[in-house]
C-alpha cells in the first residue's frame, strides 16, 4: 500500500494521538516517584492503549479471512493497520518507560514487538518502490505462485522448439546431395559477417545446439534462479544466441528466437521470484512474530495486572 495523500487523515490522527501521549508522558515521567513504570496506573493506561492498538492491528489478518464481511473497506483496514500498529509502538514504549524489560518475558515481548514494527516499516517502505521495479524489470510478470508451473511449461516449450529445430536441421542433412555436402565444407564472408555454408553448418550446428540445450538450456529452466549459468546473464545469452544465428540458416532463426525468449522469460521469472521474496519476505517475520507477540502479551497482561 502506497502512503500518499489519501493517508492524510490517518497521518494527522496518528500524529495528534502521539502528541497527546507524549504530552501526558513527559510530566508523568518527571513527576512520578518511581519513574515511569509499567505497573503504575498511568503505565497500565499506556499499556492498555498500546495493547488495544496492537490487537486491532492484528485483526487485519482476521479481516482478510472474511473479505466478504461488510466491516469496512480493505484499504481502510490496511491504513488502520499501518498507522495504528505504528502508533502502538510509542505507547508501549511509554508503558515500559523506554526500557527493554529485565524479565525474560518482557524482554522477549519487546524483542518480538521491535521485530514486528521494524519488519512492518520495512515492508511498508518496500511497497513504495519495489512493485514499480517489478513492473519495469519484469514485463513478463505472472502470478508468483505460478512461477514454478510456468517454468515447467517453459521447459516443455523449449524442448518442443529445440526438438523441432533439430528435426528440421537433421531433415535437411538427410536430403542434401554430395555437392551440397561438398559446398557445406566451405565457408565465406559476407558483409563482414562470417557465414558457414548452410548444409555443412547444419550438421555441426545441430550437434552444438543439442549439446547446448542439454548442458545449458534445460538445466537453466529447471534450476531456480540459475545462478552462475550463462543464460542467467542477459548479455551473455544474447551473444550466445547471436553466435548460433551466425551458424544457423536464417530459416531456423525464429525457433532460435523462441529459445532465447524462453530463456529471457525464465530470467524474468527468476527476477520476479527474487523481488517477490524481498517484497513479501518480511511477512515471514511480521506475521509469526505478531501472533507470538499477541499470545505472550496476553500472558504478560494477565500476570502483570495481578502482581
Amino acid at each position: 500500500m502506497l502512503i500518499d495523500s489519501t493517508h492524510r487523515v490517518w497521518i494527522v490522527g496518528t500524529a495528534v494521538a502521539l502528541a497527546l501521549g507524549t504530552a501526558f508522558y513527559i510530566p508523568y515521567a518527571l513527576v512520578s516517584v518511581r519513574g515511569p513504570q509499567g505497573g503504575s496506573a498511568v503505565g497500565i493506561i499506556y499499556g492498555s492503549i498500546g495493547s488495544a492498538l496492537m490487537l486491532f492491528a492484528g485483526l487485519l489478518g482476521a479481516r482478510k479471512k472474511v473479505p466478504v464481511w461488510r466491516v469496512g473497506r480493505a484499504t481502510t483496514w490496511m491504513r488502520a493497520h499501518l498507522w495504528l500498529g505504528l502508533l502502538s509502538f510509542p505507547f508501549i514504549l511509554f508503558h515500559s518507560g523506554f526500557r527493554l524489560g529485565a524479565a525474560p518475558l518482557t524482554r522477549w515481548l519487546m524483542v518480538l514487538f521491535i521485530a514486528v514494527i521494524v519488519s512492518g516499516i520495512f515492508g511498508a517502505v518496500l511497497q513504495h518502490f519495489l512493485p514499480r521495479v517489478i513492473t519495469t524489470r519484469v514485463p513478463m510478470e505472472t502470478v508468483y505462485e505460478q512461477i514454478d508451473s510456468i517454468c515447467g511449461q517453459l521447459l516443455v516449450e523449449a524442448t518442443t522448439s529445440a526438438t523441432e529445430l533439430w528435426s528440421a536441421l537433421e531433415g535437411d542433412l538427410e536430403q542434401a546431395n554430395p555437392q551440397q555436402r561438398a559446398e557445406a565444407a566451405t565457408a565465406g564472408t559476407k558483409g563482414g559477417v562470417t557465414f558457414a555454408s548452410a548444409i555443412g553448418a547444419d550438421e555441426q550446428f545441430a550437434t552444438t545446439l543439442h549439446g547446448f540445450f542439454d548442458d545449458e538450456i534445460r538445466p537453466y529452466l529447471v534450476q531456480h534462479g540459475g545462478r552462475g549459468r550463462v543464460l542467467a546473464d542477459k548479455d551473455r545469452t544474447s551473444a550466445t544466441f547471436q553466435q548460433f544465428r551466425i551458424l544457423c540458416p536464417k530459416d531456423f532463426w525464429p525457433r532460435l528466437n523462441d529459445l532465447e525468449n524462453i530463456c529471457d522469460e525464465k530470467r524474468q521469472l527468476d527476477r520476479q521470484r527474487a523481488l517477490h521474496r524481498v517484497l513479501h519476505g518480511w511477512l515471514l517475520v511480521h506475521i509469526p512474530a505478531s501472533y507470538a507477540l499477541l499470545l505472550l502479551g496476553a500472558v504478560h497482561a494477565v500476570v502483570a495486572l495481578r502482581y
Binding site: V33, R34, L105, S149, L284, A292, R306
Partner: protein, 467 residues
C-alpha cells in the same frame, strides 16, 4: 511452428487450482505463524512445569530479598481482589520502619519509594521524587513545617545548611580559638608543637591514643575516654559499610585538652583535679591536701607559698597571666588552718584562672563555689541529615572547613557551606561523573531512633518455599 505468445496462450499456462495448494512461501508463512506461537506457549508451559516464575518477574529482586528465591507469595499477598500487589503489611512483617514525621500529611506506601525488582540496587536508594513529592511543597497536618517548604533537589533548590545561614553562630560556651591552636609555635606538654586538626577531631571508632589526652602527662589520674560510636549516632545508620566512624568523636577535656590545659592545683600533689563539677573538684582538693598534710605534718609549720608560684609557673608554663593573686597566706598554726589556706589557694588557681581559660563561670560568694555555664558543644550540627567523615577521609580537613585556620571566635560556625558539597555531589551521581547527590545520601526518611525490636515470623521452610 514458431512459438506464439498471446494472451490466450498465456492464460492457458495458468493453473486454475493453484490457490487450493499452499505455495512454498505461503506454506512457510503458515508454518512459522503456527510454530512461533506454539514455541512461545511451549516455553511458558515448560517454565511453569519447572516451577520457574522468574520469567514473569519484572526484574531480579534486590540482594536483600534474594533469599526469598521464587517464593513470590511472601510479598505478593493476594487479597480479596484479583490483584496480588505488595501491601505495606507485607513489608512491615519483616521491617519495623518507624514513621517519618508525626505531622506528615501524607504517608506513601513502602513500594512507592523503595523500588523492588530493579536488580542488585540498595532499596534504600530512593529516587528524589520520593522526597520531593512532599518536600517540594511541604505542608503538615497542623501548624507550619519547621523545614524549608520548597526543596526540589540538592542541585536545584535546597536551603543552605541551617548552622551556616546568615546570622547563625556556634552556641558552644567553651572558649576556643582555632587560629591560636593551629599556630606553629604552640607550647605543648613537652615543648613546642604544631597541632593538626586530627589531634582533636577524629571519627568515632578510631582507637589510636589521643596525643593531648590526660594520659600524656598523668596516666594514673584519669583515663582517657574512648567515645563509643553509638554515643554520637543519634540516628541509626542502616549501612553496615559506614557504621564505623561516620561522625567526629565529641570533644572531651580528658581526650583532647588535658595534656596542655592541666588542672594541677598544688605543686606537691602530682595528680590534677578532676574535670567535673566544682563540688567534686572541691572535695577532691580538700581530700588530697588532707592526705598531704597527714603524710608530711611538718608542712604545717612552713609558709604555704614557699616555692609555690615558681613551681606552678614551671608546671603551667603556657599560662601567661601573672599569678600575683597567689601570694597571700600567713603561716598556719593548725593542720586544719593549713589545709583551709592551701585549699583556698588551689581553688583560686583553678576557679579564677584554669577554669576560666575555657569556661564562662559565675564566681561564687566567699563561701560558695563558682558555677560554670554548660559547655553546650553540639555533638552534631546537622541533626536531620547524616554525614560520614570516614568516607571523606581522603580529603584534607581544610578543603571543606576552609576558614578554620582564621577562626578566632568560639561563635564561628566552621561548617562548610552547601556549595562546597555541591562541587562534588550532584544529582545523577556517577552518570554525571560526580558523587551521589540524591536526597537519601544525606537524609533518612525513617526515624530509626523509634525502631522497635522485631519478632520474626518465618522459619526457613516458609522463607525458602518454592526455591
Amino acid at each position: 511452428m514458431p512459438r506464439v505468445r498471446t494472451a490466450k496462450t498465456l492464460a492457458k499456462r495458468i493453473d486454475m487450482q493453484y490457490f487450493t495448494r499452499l505455495h512454498g512461501f505461503r506454506r512457510w508463512r503458515l508454518v512459522l505463524s503456527i510454530a512461533l506461537p506454539v514455541l512461545a506457549a511451549g516455553w511458558l508451559l515448560a517454565e511453569r512445569a519447572s516451577g520457574n516464575r522468574v520469567i514473569y518477574s519484572s526484574g531480579p529482586v534486590s540482594s536483600a530479598h534474594a533469599v526469598f528465591g521464587q517464593n513470590c507469595n511472601l510479598c505478593h499477598v493476594r487479597g480479596a481482589s484479583y490483584s496480588a500487589a505488595v501491601p505495606d503489611k507485607a513489608c512491615l512483617a519483616c521491617h519495623n520502619a518507624p514513621v517519618h514525621n508525626a505531622h506528615q500529611a501524607f504517608t506513601p506506601s513502602c513500594g512507592s519509594c523503595h523500588l523492588e525488582h530493579e536488580g542488585k540496587l540498595r532499596m534504600a536508594e530512593t529516587a528524589n521524587a520520593a522526597c520531593t513529592q512532599c518536600h517540594a511543597n511541604l505542608y503538615t497536618k497542623e501548624g507550619h513545617p519547621k523545614f524549608d517548604s520548597h526543596v526540589s533537589g540538592f542541585d536545584r533548590k535546597h536551603p543552605e545548611f541551617y548552622p551556616v545561614r546568615h546570622g547563625q553562630f556556634d552556641p558552644g560556651t567553651v572558649n576556643l580559638n582555632h587560629h591560636a591552636h593551629l599556630q606553629p609555635t604552640l607550647r605543648g606538654p613537652n615543648g613546642p608543637v604544631q597541632m593538626r586538626c586530627e589531634d582533636c577531631h577524629r571519627p568515632t571508632g578510631v582507637n589510636e591514643p589521643w596525643p593531648y589526652s590526660v594520659a600524656v602527662v598523668q596516666p594514673a589520674s584519669q583515663q582517657p575516654v574512648v567515645v563509643p560510636a553509638a554515643e554520637v549516632q543519634q540516628t541509626k545508620k542502616r549501612y553496615a559499610e559506614i557504621a564505623a566512624g561516620p561522625y567526629m568523636a565529641p570533644i572531651k577535656y580528658v581526650n583532647q585538652c588535658a595534656a596542655c590545659h592541666t588542672l594541677q592545683f598544688d605543686p606537691l600533689i602530682p595528680e590534677p583535679a578532676p574535670h567535673g563539677k566544682p563540688e567534686v573538684v572541691h572535695a577532691f582538693i580538700v581530700e588530697k591536701i588532707k592526705q598531704l598534710v597527714k603524710a608530711s605534718p611538718e608542712l604545717v609549720h612552713k609558709p604555704v607559698t614557699t616555692g609555690y608560684k615558681d613551681q606552678i609557673e614551671a608546671t603551667r608554663n603556657y599560662l601567661r597571666p601573672a599569678l600575683d593573686y597567689l601570694v597571700l597566706p600567713t603561716v598556719p598554726t593548725t593542720p586544719e588552718n593549713w589545709v583551709s589556706q592551701r585549699t583556698e589557694i588551689a581553688e583560686r588557681v583553678l576557679w579564677r584562672k584554669d577554669c576560666k581559660v575555657c569556661h564562662s563561670q559565675t564566681t561564687g560568694e566567699a563561701d560558695k563555689l563558682p558555677t560554670s555555664v554548660k559547655a553546650f558543644i553540639p555533638a552534631r550540627w546537622l541533626a536531620d541529615s547524616e554525614f560520614d567523615h570516614q568516607a571523606h577521609s581522603m580529603m584534607t580537613c581544610e578543603s571543606c572547613h576552609s576558614g578554620i585556620s582564621g577562626s578566632k571566635l568560639t561563635s564561628d560556625v566552621n561548617l562548610p557551606k552547601i556549595e562546597t558539597c555541591r562541587r562534588c555531589h550532584k544529582e545523577g551521581g556517577a552518570l554525571k561523573g560526580a558523587a551521589e547527590g540524591r536526597c537519601y545520601e544525606c537524609h533518612s526518611y525513617h526515624d530509626w531512633r523509634k525502631e522497635q525490636p522485631l519478632k520474626g515470623k518465618f522459619d526457613v521452610n516458609a522463607l525458602r518455599a518454592g526455591s
